[in-house]
Symmetry: C2
Subunit: 270 residues, 2 copies
């Protein structure tokens, strides 16, 4: 591993083994309450595809299922192309640790072409990043320090006086230290939100993402133009019922382009 | 196959082969422009899990990737439990036809328990189903006749005078003939929307769902209480860019409960 690399690149670093197989381990910098930050696990699963010699095109869709806990010890990833078409490719990815499958994923890649376009969702009217003071989360977890977060609204305080009927959070966020935006950092950023149930209740409870889907509405050329700029990250829950809550999220470029739409399902016990 | 069964149950019917393997074929009643209706393919993938002797719990999340075209000829499905925990289970499902993988999927099942609950998204204020006249789609495809659709707004007319800046559709919809609501019919209903780009342009173009994720915010007991009632189905696109458009969708019970949230990615050429 290149210890001069950005902490994110160290965390998602993989070593290729035999065909379709990789090994890696997630660095303590991205530790969560239990195991590593899910966003970095997702980026690591995608990284196995991006490094693969048979890869064709760029990510358009990624689904990650967090099937069991993982630790910061080494794991194996298998990434196999299930189907390759002329301009699209579908992957099945599995992470195994201690002899058990802990994460499953599917990814779709495509060679994108210019087309008729329409951005239908309106970018939120919020102050620019530089007008907002960065804040730190009221939870002692490592990965949060890997991001600079500037909250427009929906700050987690864990103060019961701040409970509300809305789980909406909107924040400007970038890697800390800064890192150029690409599909890998964008993938981790799509999971940067605390469980919405924490925000509703401003109180902790057992909770964790069990499945996450990310759609990428951009390509590497467009992403490169953002450099180290922050993205505007927005998330809210729609339904919390019988132990599972959903979350709808968007990542916006500072220029108002909708770069990512995502949804996730979160287990909770409350 | 039981030819007295509901057409949906005939379409998604599977025969168990050796361990983890099934065979089936989708009936012409659910034919789409090219191959069968994606919603019924999704329901068939889920059916392989629901029929599996090692199944534990009920669906909470399903992701389907339409990797290649399928025909109405026989296919094979493999469904294997990747990870079984105390109260959750993760599956990897693959459909193969003519020697190639054509559909991949992951599913998560769970034993749900009562919990703190909150429905945050507000049910749309629309007239009840019985006040709206059913309409037929202006496209000569078979599967549309398997649903009764009553449009509140966002009707596809293929009349260029009806183009708009909104791709929102809201309709009351149920199986035709009526069928009790369950996870299988709900899965197919989550894909009941025409590509949003058709609605924006009120003109045809090559388009098709390439990936779809469904979260189920209900259980079989709650679903049974709906019987043959229609659901309120709502969908809109957020971003259409470089050949791929997303779609966010909800299915609501007639009692105002949010039963399903879903997103999908649609390929288009325009």
């Amino acid at each position: 591993m290149d210890t001069s690399a950005h902490p994110l690149d160290q965390a998602i670093h993989l070593v290729a083994l035999e065909e379709d197989r990789y090994t890696g381990h997630i660095t303590p910098a991205y530790a969560n309450m239990v195991g590593p930050f899910g966003g970095v696990i997702a980026a690591t699963m995608l990284n196995a595809v991006l490094l693969h010699p048979r890869r064709m095109g760029e990510p358009v869709a990624l689904t990650i299922n967090f099937a069991g806990p993982i630790t910061d010890e080494p794991f194996r990833i298998s990434a196999r192309p299930a189907r390759s078409n002329r301009s699209t490719q579908h992957w099945i990815i599995e992470l195994t640790q201690h002899g058990e499958i802990a994460v499953t994923a599917t990814a779709m890649l495509a060679v994108r072409r210019d087309s008729w376009s329409a951005q239908e969702l309106t970018v939120p009217d919020v102050p620019p990043a530089e007008q907002i003071t960065p804040s730190s989360a009221p939870v002692p977890i490592a990965w949060v320090k890997c991001y600079q977060m500037r909250f427009v609204d929906g700050l987690l305080t864990m103060n019961s006086a701040d409970t509300s009927d809305s789980s909406l959070s909107r924040l400007w966020v970038r890697d800390e230290p800064p890192r150029p935006l690409d599909f890998l950092s964008l993938t981790a950023l799509a999971d940067v939100f605390f469980p919405r149930i924490f925000l509703r209740r401003q109180a902790p409870c057992p909770a964790g993402t069990v499945s996450m889907t990310i759609y990428y509405h951009t390509d590497s050329q467009e992403l490169a133009a953002y450099g180290q700029q922050p993205v505007l990250a927005c998330a809210r829950a729609n339904q919390m019922h019988k132990g599972f809550a959903d979350q709808t999220a968007e990542l916006w470029g500072a220029d108002g382009k909708l770069l990512v739409t995502s949804q996730q399902l979160v287990y909770y016990k409350a």
